[in-house]
C-alpha cells in the first residue's frame, strides 16, 4: 500500500494505492499545518478505513505543504504527479489541466508520461479557484452553486482587468448598476473561462485533455473552456480533486 498525499494550503487530499488501484481516499483540512494534517490523514485511515500506519509501505507527498512535513516521505513534483495521474486515468490523453485553489496549470505529456510543456497562471492571480472565491463572496454565492446560477443569465457582460480585488470592484459596480446576480456570475465565470482557455492555448495540445482540481466539476467552466480551445475535456476519473494525491502515489510506485 502506498499513501499518496496532496497537501494544499486549505485542504489535504490523501489516497491509498494498492496495485495501482485506489482503495481508500480522504480529505482533511490543512489549516496551515501540514504536519497536523498528516496526523489527521493517518488517523482517518485507521479509523475509517482500518488501515494501520504499519500497512503503509511508503508515503509520497506533493503540493504546497510537502517541504513542511516531518514524517518520512518521498517528495513528488506537482507537475510530474499530474502527468502520471492523467496517464493512469486515460492513457491516451496527452494533456492535463489542473484547476486548483491557488494555481491553474496546464501541461502536455509525451507517450512516456514525461512533461513536455507547461504553463501556470501569471503573477496576478486571476483564473484560479481563489479568484472565484473572492468574486463570489462579493455576490454572496458559492463556487459550487455558481454554474447553476449562471445558467439563468440573459445578457453578456465583459469584465476586464488584472487584479482579483479590482475585478471585485467591477463586480460591485455591476451590482450597483442593478445587474442580475445570474448575469454577473456568468460574467465572472466567462472571464475565468477565457483566462483558462488562453493559458491552454499557450501550449501545444494535440487532442483530449484530462481535467483535475477542485474546479473540474464546474460544468459551465469546463464546457466554456472546451468550446474555446476546441479540444475534448475529460474530468479526471472519480474525484478530480484527488488527481495530485494519486499522481504522487503513482510516482512512488514507479520508483519501487
Amino acid at each position: 500500500m502506498i499513501l499518496g498525499c496532496d497537501i494544499g494550503s486549505s485542504v489535504t487530499k490523501a489516497v491509498i494505492l494498492q496495485d495501482r488501484h485506489v482503495i481508500a481516499s480522504l480529505r482533511v483540512p490543512t489549516d496551515a499545518h501540514p504536519d497536523r494534517a498528516m496526523g489527521r490523514v493517518l488517523e482517518g485511515l485507521r479509523e475509517r478505513h482500518k488501515i494501520d500506519d504499519g500497512d503503509i509501505e511508503e508515503t509520497a507527498i506533493t503540493g504546497w505543504g510537502e517541504p513542511r512535513v516531518s514524517l518520512p516521505h518521498t517528495a513528488q513534483s506537482v507537475l510530474g504527479s499530474l502527468a502520471r495521474a492523467s496517464q493512469w486515468d486515460r492513457p491516451a490523453c496527452r494533456a492535463v489541466l489542473c484547476l486548483g485553489a491557488q494555481n491553474t496549470a496546464v501541461l502536455s505529456v509525451n507517450d512516456k508520461g514525461r512533461v513536455m510543456e507547461y504553463r501556470m497562471n501569471d503573477k496576478c492571480a486571476s483564473g484560479c479557484g481563489k479568484f472565484l472565491e473572492i468574486m463570489f463572496e462579493a455576490l454572496a454565492i458559492t463556487v459550487e452553486d455558481s454554474a447553476a446560477i449562471a445558467s439563468a443569465s440573459d445578457k453578456r457582460i465583459s469584465l476586464s482587468g488584472q487584479c482579483a480585488v479590482f475585478y471585485e470592484s467591477d463586480v460591485v459596480s455591476l451590482i450597483n448598476a442593478g445587474e442580475s446576480v445570474a448575469n454577473i456570475t456568468e460574467a465572472i465565470l466567462d472571464a475565468v473561462t477565457r483566462t483558462v482557455a488562453t493559458l491552454c492555448k499557450k501550449i501545444k495540445i494535440a487532442d483530449a485533455i484530462v481535467v483535475g482540481g477542485g474546479l473540474a466539476n464546474n460544468k459551465r467552466l469546463l464546457d466554456g473552456v472546451g468550446a474555446l480551445i476546441q479540444r475534448p475535456l475529460h474530468v479526471f476519473g472519480g474525484d478530480p480533486d484527488l488527481i495530485g494525491a494519486i499522481g504522487a502515489a503513482l510516482g512512488a510506485q514507479a520508483t519501487r
Binding site: S158, S160, F166, S169, S173, T195, T198, K201
Partner: protein, 387 residues
C-alpha cells in the same frame, strides 16, 4: 474613383451621421468602396503618410485602425503577454477574429515597441494581401534622419506600386495633399468650435466625428464635415459647463474616458492626443516635390514622444492648446505598460504644474470597465480645482 464615394447620405443631419458611423464590417463606406473594386488599407500610427496611399490610382482607402467594441483579448493573449499594452492586444484580437478581414493592406510603423512587435503575428496568423512597415528615426535633427524617413516613404510607394500596379503621379499626390489639407483645416475649425467660451459640441461628439474621419473617404468626409460645422455653429453653445478640460495621451478612439469626464458636468474642449489634435495639426506644403513635402509634414510635425530631443516642442504644443482653449485643467491618459506616454505625461504634467495648470494622470485599459475608480479621480480633480 479616387475618393468619390457612392454611398448616398440619407440622414438629414451631418452631425448625427458622423457621430454614429458604424465601424469595420458595418461601415457602409467601406462596403461601397470594396464593391467598386477599391482597396482598403489600414494603418495605426500618425507617421503613416496617408496622402501617399490615398493618391494611389488603384483606389486605396486609408483607414486608421481602432478596436472599439473589442470585448475580449483571449486569442491575442496567447500571442502577447499581458505586459503588452491593451490597445495592441485588442487590435490583434480583432485581426485574429477576422474583424479586419476586409483589409487589403496594413501599414505599420516601428513608432512603439509594442505595436511593431505584433507585425509577425499579423503576418503569420492574420494574413493580409499586403503588409509592410514604415520605420522612423528617433530624432528629427539632421538631414540624414529625414532622408531615412523619406526613403521609407518612397519604398512604401514602390511596394504598393509593385503589388497593385502604377505609382501615383505628382498630380495625384497634389490632389491628395489638397484633400488632406482641407480635411485638416476643417477639423481645426471643429476644434475652434470646441474651444469657444460656450463650446458648440461636447468632447464625446468631437471624438466620434473624428473617428468617422478615420473611417471614411476623406472627400466625402470633408463635405459632410463642412455641413456638420454649419449645423454646429448654429447650435446654442454649452454655457453651463462645470469645467473646461483638455485630455492628453496616446491613441484614444473610444469615448469611454470623455464620457466619464463629461458625466460630471465638465466639457472636454480640446486634446493633445495622438489620435486627436496631433493627427490633424499642420499642413503639407503644396509647393515642391509632393512626396518630399508629405514626408516633411509627417516627420517633423508629428509630436511623438519617441523623438528624443523633441520634448520642448511637444510641451510648447500642449501649452499652446491649453491656452487656446482656456482650459481649467488637463487630464492625461495612458494605457498600462505604455512607456512612451507614461514618461511623457509625467514630464508634461510637471511643466504644466509649473505654469499653475492643474493636471490629473489616469491609467486605464483600452477595454476599461473600471468606471467607478476613474470617476472618483475625475470628480476629485474637479473638486480640487474648485469646479
Amino acid at each position: 474613383m479616387n475618393g468619390q464615394s457612392a454611398v448616398p447620405t440619407t440622414r438629414s443631419s451631418a452631425v448625427e451621421e458622423l457621430s454614429s458611423l458604424p465601424l469595420r464590417a458595418d461601415n457602409p463606406y467601406i462596403d461601397a468602396w470594396k464593391e467598386k473594386g477599391g482597396k482598403v488599407f489600414g494603418y495605426v500610427c500618425s507617421y503613416v503618410p496617408e496622402e501617399l496611399l490615398h493618391a494611389h490610382p488603384a483606389g486605396l482607402l486609408p483607414i486608421r485602425m481602432g478596436a472599439v467594441g473589442c470585448e475580449t483579448t483571449e486569442d491575442a493573449d496567447v500571442c502577447l503577454h499581458k505586459y503588452i499594452c491593451s490597445f495592441t492586444r485588442c487590435l490583434l484580437q480583432l485581426g485574429l477574429a477576422g474583424e479586419y478581414r476586409f483589409l487589403d493592406g496594413f501599414v505599420m510603423t516601428d513608432a512603439c515597441d509594442q505595436m511593431r512587435r505584433t507585425y509577425e503575428y499579423w503576418r503569420d496568423e492574420v494574413g493580409l494581401d499586403f503588409l509592410t512597415m514604415v520605420t522612423i528615426p528617433h530624432s528629427v535633427e539632421g538631414e540624414q534622419r529625414f532622408a531615412w524617413y523619406l526613403e521609407e516613404i518612397r519604398r512604401l510607394g514602390e511596394a504598393i506600386a509593385e503589388r497593385y500596379g502604377s505609382y501615383p503621379t505628382d498630380d495625384h499626390l497634389r490632389d491628395s495633399i489638397a484633400t488632406y489639407n482641407r480635411y485638416r483645416k476643417l477639423m481645426l475649425e471643429l476644434y475652434a468650435l470646441r474651444a469657444q467660451a460656450a463650446p458648440k459640441l461636447t468632447g464625446a461628439e468631437a471624438m466620434r466625428i473624428a473617428r468617422a474621419g478615420f473611417n471614411m473617404p476623406k472627400q466625402t468626409f470633408n463635405d459632410r464635415l463642412e455641413e456638420a460645422l454649419g449645423e454646429l455653429a448654429a447650435r446654442p453653445g454649452i454655457d453651463d459647463s462645470r469645467a473646461r478640460i483638455m485630455i492628453g495621451g496616446s491613441y484614444l478612439d473610444d469615448t469611454y474616458l470623455i464620457d466619464i469626464i463629461e458625466s460630471t458636468g465638465a466639457v472636454v474642449v480640446t486634446d493633445a492626443l495622438c489620435s486627436g489634435r496631433k493627427y490633424i495639426e499642420s499642413m503639407v506644403s503644396e509647393d515642391g516635390d509632393p512626396t518630399e513635402a508629405i514626408a516633411r509634414r509627417y516627420f517633423e510635425h508629428t509630436p511623438c514622444p519617441r523623438m528624443i530631443g523633441g520634448f520642448e516642442n511637444r510641451m510648447e504644443f500642449t501649452r499652446r492648446l491649453a491656452q487656446e482653449a482656456a482650459v481649467d485643467g488637463v487630464i492625461f491618459h495612458r494605457l498600462p505598460f505604455c512607456d512612451n506616454h507614461a514618461v511623457e505625461n509625467a514630464m508634461e504634467s510637471r511643466e504644466l504644474n509649473k505654469l499653475d495648470v492643474p493636471t490629473l494622470s489616469l491609467e486605464s485599459e483600452y477595454l476599461a470597465t473600471d468606471e467607478g475608480r476613474i470617476k472618483t479621480r475625475v470628480q476629485a480633480f474637479l473638486e480640487k480645482i474648485g469646479r
